[in-house]
Point group: C2
Chain length 290, copies 2
């Protein structure tokens, strides 16, 4: 994507000092940006400040070049509306992993759409809270922007500058395409990982004594915070359900094939799995598939 | 487990120079054991020899202290029967990841059961063939033995010595318990990983441009060879189907909950996923869960 000339981003306010908000703040500070932080959770705020992510937003609040709303999906519209009413910044963006429903909610909340650029950095951590944050989290990662028809070009340009300052690569997508893609590459894997890990919810050490790297890797993301993830999943419910239903179909066919000793159905699923994994590797590690 | 005094294991023949057989050979050579190799695939055999895993089994074959059958599950009984007829060794073991059906087949093939110790090292690699082998593969890993009532104590003792020489920890389980545990911790995760990866079997680069570490980790084991894995899955069909049916149940409930905006069902699955992941971490990394 060819980027327009960056508008200077010198002062940023981050609303929400969870793992993503704090990582954005740390990445921006690394690039010499002045960062103010705010969070209704005072403990999280103190921790982010202690980690060097920025200073608490003073009262009265100074006007930032960009306000980054880094709160759970269901709160973005309210937090944005409040921030705009307080005139906290020139440009506003968010970092939630779902976009269509948030944009509808932002429209319904009568927010100013010209200054708002819906966003989503494609990065994260299975743990929540500021202590899991890292300034390198966005380095070379895609960071999607889904501008609204009403979004001002200057606001889009400024947000793209912020993304570059975080070390990431801005990518423009429609909210619908974004949501479908993220359902497949992130939200569904999360649910499937949870369903795999759930088999061991009541497991003792004996049952798990044979666990190895396969189970470790397939269940890593099942560690995400349930309340946040329920919020994310519900915000992207239908695209996720569609992919999930395809997986349920494949797995129940596999279970039937096992009961009926049907070799072909198993070979077909395993072969498609091979092919999919190869595509994933080609994209993530273009040189490693040989 | 308290081990009996090791019987000396000085000469071992490995039948099958795939990733596991070659790793066993490399691990034994590292401990000063003399290793002979044989495989009907001459290319795999040459590669294993080239890697320093051992020398080709001469003809007439010398008698080994232990013969390790490292071929796919459905071939173990035939290969064992043939090896015993050729009197290739004093003690015989195998490394297949399923046990009950192999033991039945070995009984049906009228093999000598006193000298045979069914085994399964809990280690592996998503790639097949000798080039993916590594001498450290079994270091500190469990290695299950499922002795038959007819297995001679001396044969069990010798196989335990071989396991120790490979750097692993011998663990005794019944074949039924082994198969159920491995279904849950290894075979089902493989199928689920394949079903996740299968969503990208026809994916272009654009669809995958937002893929990150979550998708990478959850689909890593989907790279396994389909023919070998179909063989493994069919050999442990019913224990796998039982676990898989529970996962299908959870995931189809999740899909319904997403369509119906049912918060509780989602929270329940995510919370059980959290709990299961915590148990897995407690076993695999006792110090990292804090």
């Amino acid at each position: 994507m060819k980027l327009p000339t960056p508008r200077k981003v010198r002062r940023v306010t981050v609303v929400g000092t969870g793992v993503i908000g704090t990582s954005v703040a740390l990445a921006l500070q690394r690039s010499g940006v002045r960062v103010w932080l705010t969070d209704h959770d005072e403990e999280a705020l103190s921790e982010a400040v202690r980690m060097g992510a920025g200073t608490p937003l003073p009262d009265p609040a100074p006007r930032a070049d960009v306000v980054v709303v880094a709160t759970p999906p269901s709160t973005v519209a309210t937090v944005l509306s409040d921030a705009q009413q307080r005139d906290l910044g020139t440009v506003y963006t968010d970092v939630a992993s779902t976009k269509s429903r948030i944009i509808t909610q932002v429209e319904q909340a009568a927010c100013d759409l010209t200054s708002y650029v819906p966003g989503h950095p494609i990065a994260g951590h299975e743990l929540s809270g500021p202590t899991a944050a890292h300034p390198d989290m966005f380095d070379s990662r895609p960071w999607v922007l889904c501008p609204h028809p009403a979004t001002a070009p200057q606001a889009l340009r400024t947000t793209a500058s912020l993304i570059t300052l975080c070390g990431a690569r801005p990518t423009i997508l429609s909210p619908e395409v974004h949501d479908q893609m993220v359902a497949a590459v992130s939200h569904v894997p999360h649910l499937v990982s949870a369903a795999l890990a759930a088999r061991f919810a009541a497991a003792d050490e004996h049952t798990l004594s044979l666990a190895g790297k396969g189970l470790q890797d397939t269940t890593r993301i099942a560690r995400g915070a349930p309340a946040l993830w329920r919020d994310i999943l519900q915000h992207n419910a239908h695209p996720i359900a569609t992919v999930l239903e395809a997986i349920v179909h494949d797995l129940s066919e596999a279970a039937q094939a096992l009961r009926a000793t049907d070799q072909e159905a198993l070979t077909d699923l395993l072969t498609r799995g091979n092919r999919g994994r190869e595509h994933i590797l080609n994209v993530l590690h273009p040189t490693s598939t040989g």
